[in-house]
């Protein structure tokens, strides 16, 4: 092996190029979605696209910084970075500013900063650090609990600040744990939890329980020779019933009106065409407008700055959460599927790079990066196309927003730094 080469600086250009493509394409879509005819300058700070130019500049500076810091720094200081970010998150309760009902912003001399965006990568770092710690045994339930706690603390803090969308992102880190060896049963448990909850909402608790019960009965009668584990079966049934009725109860009593409405729209619970027509105009207004914008794009789209629905500002929040509808309207099926493909390629590439690593820290962090980007990609584009209930989270690299762009840049480039250092012996 050529040691010189091993010590040299090896950036993964595939990820870098995809990153640049997404950021620039995103920028032009923000430009399109936020101009209303009058366009002055790319750096007009009174307009979102002008600010985004600055954010992109800042992101590039941060890239240089990240790449120039020694790779070992991130592993060594992961815990401290994590704790600092938690402190920043907690500080919101005192110094935070409320925007749209969520207490997520610091305001510093006109600029705003959203710590929850940054907590995503600090948590990924902390999880990777904990996983790669020699004293951690992920098969041990106490250690499992500690690992869960690392994720749960920021998640709960963010939930308390009324930003449910961002909280969901942390659930994605289960992929890291899974890769690093938590037992299968957790994944199975999580999956059944999800299925039972959704099925209960779509149908009803009674239906779901009857189906589960009949499965158990069939299992007991035909597949079990020794009917020893009847108690376990009964326990499962009781747990399912608890979950099912619990879901139904919380849907009716805990969830807020707008959350309930979104779920109703998503699962198509309303059948009355007249009420549906009314819902189209209020509850599912955003979704309806965004779907119309997407449809109107057709195969090749209407062209840059030519989207009539984008220009007329028919889709609310189009330069932030609904940016993908601009892509779809102005660049059509071709443009929007290229974006989807780019995301898939980027995440796959990161996973591929992570698997190459000998260092468990790098691998776990790589998985963290991939999971976080994936959850955003899944929820955001899924929501814009009506496949997933409305949950307000940004599309990485695309959506307008300084904190988001900066945080995602840092998230990805710390991994690339770790990756470039892969062959160094630690």
């Amino acid at each position: 092996m050529n040691l010189n080469r091993a010590h040299s600086f090896q950036l993964d250009w595939v990820v870098v190029l995809i990153y640049l493509a997404l950021v620039l394409f995103g920028y032009f879509n923000i430009l399109s979605a936020s101009t209303d005819g009058a366009f002055s300058s790319y750096f007009d700070l009174s307009e979102p696209y002008g600010k985004q130019s600055v954010f992109i500049g800042l992101s590039f500076i941060s890239i240089v910084l990240i790449l120039s810091i020694d790779a070992k720094f991130y592993e060594r200081f992961a815990s401290i970075i994590y704790l600092l970010s938690l402190a920043a998150l907690a500080g919101l309760f005192v110094f935070g500013k409320k925007v749209n009902g969520a207490l997520s912003w610091y305001e510093i001399g006109g600029a705003t900063l959203q710590p929850s965006e940054f907590v995503k990568f600090t948590t990924a770092l902390a999880v990777a650090k904990y996983m790669s710690d020699l004293q951690t045994n992920i098969k041990d339930s106490m250690d499992q609990f500690r690992a869960a706690l690392i994720v749960a603390v920021p998640a709960v803090l963010i939930l308390l600040q009324n930003d449910a969308g961002s909280t969901l992102v942390f659930a994605g880190l289960i992929f890291v744990f899974y890769r690093e060896g938590i037992p299968q049963k957790y994944i199975l448990f999580g999956a059944s939890l999800l299925i039972i909850t959704i099925a209960t909402l779509k149908f009803s608790a009674l239906t779901v329980i009857s189906i589960v019960a009949s499965f158990i009965v069939i299992y007991q009668l035909f597949f079990k020779r020794k009917k020893k584990k009847i108690t376990l079966s009964v326990l499962i049934l009781i747990l399912c019933s608890g979950l099912s009725f619990g879901t139904e109860w919380s849907f009716n009593n805990v969830l807020q009106k707008h959350q309930k409405d979104r779920i109703e729209v998503w699962l198509r619970l309303e059948k009355d065409p007249e009420k549906l027509e009314i819902m189209k105009r209020n509850i599912s207004y955003n979704l309806n407008q965004s779907e119309q914008a997407i449809r109107s794009g057709g195969l090749t789209g209407k062209g840059f700055k030519e989207g009539t629905r984008t220009k007329g500002k028919f889709v609310p929040e189009q330069h932030t959460d609904y940016i993908f509808s601009t892509v779809a309207e102005e660049w059509g099926f071709l443009g929007s599927s290229i974006v989807v493909v780019l995301f898939v390629l980027m995440i796959s590439r990161i996973l591929f790079l992570a698997e190459r690593h000998k260092s468990q820290f790098s691998r776990a962090y790589g998985y963290g990066v991939a999971s976080i980007v994936f959850v955003h990609f899944l929820i955001n584009i899924g929501m814009v196309m009506g496949l997933i209930p409305t949950i307000g989270i940004p599309l990485p690299f695309f959506s307008y927003g300084g904190s988001g762009l900066l945080a995602f840049t840092i998230l990805v480039f710390i991994f690339l730094k770790l990756d470039s250092n892969r062959l160094n012996v630690w």
Partner: protein, 620 residues
């Protein structure tokens, strides 16, 4: 395995997303519809509708501005309703009705609050209305009739129905479209093309500039002026003669097929269907179930033709070579036929009849014989009937004429198959269907078909499809209207028929209708007709029918007149035909006594008889 879970999810999600995008953007593609894009406001500019002139260049239909009070409900502020209502001369109930209707249509978009104000009202109101926010006056063009005649020919325009819109995407809610007459048949030429401006709008329905710098915008193209073949003077005279009578007059120029007159009686003033009283007037016309003024009797009133049809029976017989001009028959004022020795009465006066006196005195026996010989020429009655039927149909009977008027009827000329179906178990022959020979029975025609048949006789064997269009902005008209249509009868056979028809005037049934200085050929007709009263078939007074053309040499006009329940042919239809011919050829009428007689005749009593609920007498 653990390596692939997340990767699997990522790839799976990617496939689902591309699939969903494909479904939304390629399968449900809505991209190529600028028209349907509700982010684009389409502002239409309506072109000027084309004018309509008569054959002599007299302007019949022009345009006039009308003024509507328009409201945008959202902009309206609390107002002094009492003052507002007195200003517009409406009551409060009407105010609320119109306002709520506008609000239901759209609170943001303008809709018509009160239509058709006069120019004077407009001047007065535009000043006062400024105080009332959300109301303003808008100008619109409607038809301006320069004449009181020809309502059935000119037709009318009205707002499009949802049906019109779904059939032709050109029309939008509130547009006007030709509904009857030439307004309908030449709608595309008259209307022109709307101009459209595409305006990009935003979510609040505000204009934010023109779409793509107006590269798709168009200017309105004005409608074309059309000249119709109607002679307004003759049309007016015809309508006067038909007043207080029901029926139709159709006059054709035989050498071109141009319709000189198309009277449907009773008619109405076309101006009734314009302006503020439009819907009230329309309802009144529409619901008149006795006279049915909106129903163009000249085009769609089917009736048995009666004796004028005998001319065709004779022509078919001549063509089939079964009669000659020298042959005579003896008429005992009745014709006895069939095994059961059934009797057909004849009113010709009796005696020896040849072709000429057969026509001039309308001898039933002569034509029954001629008809029987024609059918009997062939061994099979059905085949004979087919041959006969084809001769008759070659005169444009029994089918649509294919003219440029929006309504019409086929009429009926039976053929062999028709009676084969009627008598499936019975060997029928000419005697079974003998009433066809005198234009009764199963024969049905419309006045325009009768006029066309007369024109074909006048031309000695051909006709041009009758049409109403003379020119469109100076351009030539449809070739179909300038192509000769040949009948199946050789032109030599027409001479004796025309001579017979001339004798109708010189010594026959219309001898008292002579017009000094004009050689007219004509044929009277008296058509039995029936109606159903409380389920009982009841005979009504005969229809008075007359066909004629003049002059005998080089005919200039062929005419058919139907006066419903006018009794015998020469009585009213014949008089009207003579007067019309004189008016057209001489420009004025010398038969003043006859004119007065016709003008003063009122047949209302006759039309009310079936509705009186009492027994009544006919043919008085």
């Amino acid at each position: 395995m653990r390596k692939f879970l997340l990767l699997g999810f990522v790839v799976f999600t990617g496939i689902i997303f591309v699939g969903r995008l494909f479904y939304l953007q390629v399968y449900q593609d809505e991209s190529n519809s600028l028209e349907n894009d509700n982010a684009i406001r389409k502002i239409y500019q309506h072109p000027k509708r084309g004018y309509i002139y008569d054959r002599n260049g007299k302007l019949l239909v022009a345009n006039q501005p009308t003024y509507d009070v328009v409201v945008i409900p959202r902009v309206v502020e609390a107002l002094d309703t009492l003052m507002f209502c007195s200003l517009l001369d409406i009551d409060k109930a009407q105010f609320l009705k119109s306002f709520n209707r506008a609000k239901r249509y759209s609170p943001r978009l303008p809709s018509i609050f009160l239509a058709h104000l006069s120019k004077e009202d407009y001047a007065f109101l535009s000043e006062k209305l400024r105080k009332f926010k959300g109301f303003y006056v808008q100008k619109r063009a409607v038809r301006d009739y320069q004449t009181e005649i020809g309502a059935n020919v000119l037709g009318y325009i009205a707002e499009v129905t949802p049906d019109n819109i779904s059939k032709d995407g050109y029309y939008k809610l509130g547009d006007l479209i030709g509904k009857q007459g030439v307004e309908k048949s030449y709608e595309k030429e008259l209307r022109g093309e709307k101009g459209v401006k595409y305006i990009q709008k935003d979510i609040y329905n505000r204009d934010i500039g023109s779409y793509k710098n107006g590269q798709f915008d168009t200017l309105p193209i004005p409608g074309k002026n059309i000249t119709i073949t109607i002679d307004a003077t003759l049309q007016e005279y015809g309508e006067q003669l038909m007043q207080n009578k029901m029926g139709g007059i159709v006059a054709i120029e035989p050498s071109s097929g141009e319709l000189l007159t198309l009277v449907s009686a009773p008619s109405y003033n076309p101006a009734l269907l314009v302006g503020r009283e439009r819907s009230k007037n329309y309802t009144k016309l529409y619901t008149d179930s006795i006279y049915r003024p909106l129903f163009d009797k000249a085009l769609i009133r089917m009736h048995v033709p009666g004796s004028p049809f005998k001319t065709l029976v004779a022509l078919a017989a001549l063509q089939e070579n079964v009669i000659t001009t020298r042959e005579t028959i003896y008429c005992a004022e009745k014709y006895i036929y069939g095994k059961n020795r059934r009797v057909m009465k004849c009113h010709c006066g009796g005696g020896y009849r040849n072709l000429f006196s057969g026509i001039s005195n309308s001898c039933n026996s002569y034509f029954a014989t001629a008809f029987g010989k024609t059918i009997d020429k062939y061994n099979d009655a059905s085949m004979g009937m087919d041959i006969w039927s084809n001769h008759i149909k070659s005169f444009g009977l029994g089918n649509f004429l294919g003219n440029d008027l929006p309504v019409g009827k086929k009429g009926n000329i039976p053929d062999g198959a028709y009676y084969d179906a009627w008598y499936p178990d019975f060997k029928w022959g000419p005697t079974t269907i003998l009433s066809n020979s005198i234009g009764q029975g199963e024969i049905l025609v419309t006045p325009i078909q009768l006029a066309n048949m007369t024109a074909a006789i006048a031309n000695k064997g051909f006709y041009y499809t009758p049409h109403i269009i003379k020119s469109i902005d100076g351009e030539t008209i449809d070739k179909n209207f300038t192509t000769k249509k040949e009948t199946s009868i050789d032109s030599t056979h027409f001479e004796p028929i025309i001579e017979g028809m001339h004798q109708v005037y010189t010594k026959g049934t219309a001898s008292f209708l002579k017009v000094p200085g004009i050689e007219i050929c004509g044929k009277t007709g008296t058509a039995e007709n029936f109606t159903e009263i409380d389920g009982v078939k009841t005979q009504l007074t005969d229809h008075s029918i007359f066909v004629a053309f003049a002059p005998k040499e080089d005919p200039k006009i062929a005419i058919a007149v139907l006066v419903e329940n006018g009794y015998y042919g020469a009585r009213w239809a014949g008089r009207i035909a003579s007067l019309m011919i004189e008016k057209y050829l001489k420009g004025e009428v010398s038969l003043k006594y006859m004119e007065r007689l016709v003008l003063n005749k009122n047949l209302e009593d006759e039309y009310l008889k079936p509705y009186s609920g009492k027994p009544f007498k006919i043919n008085q």
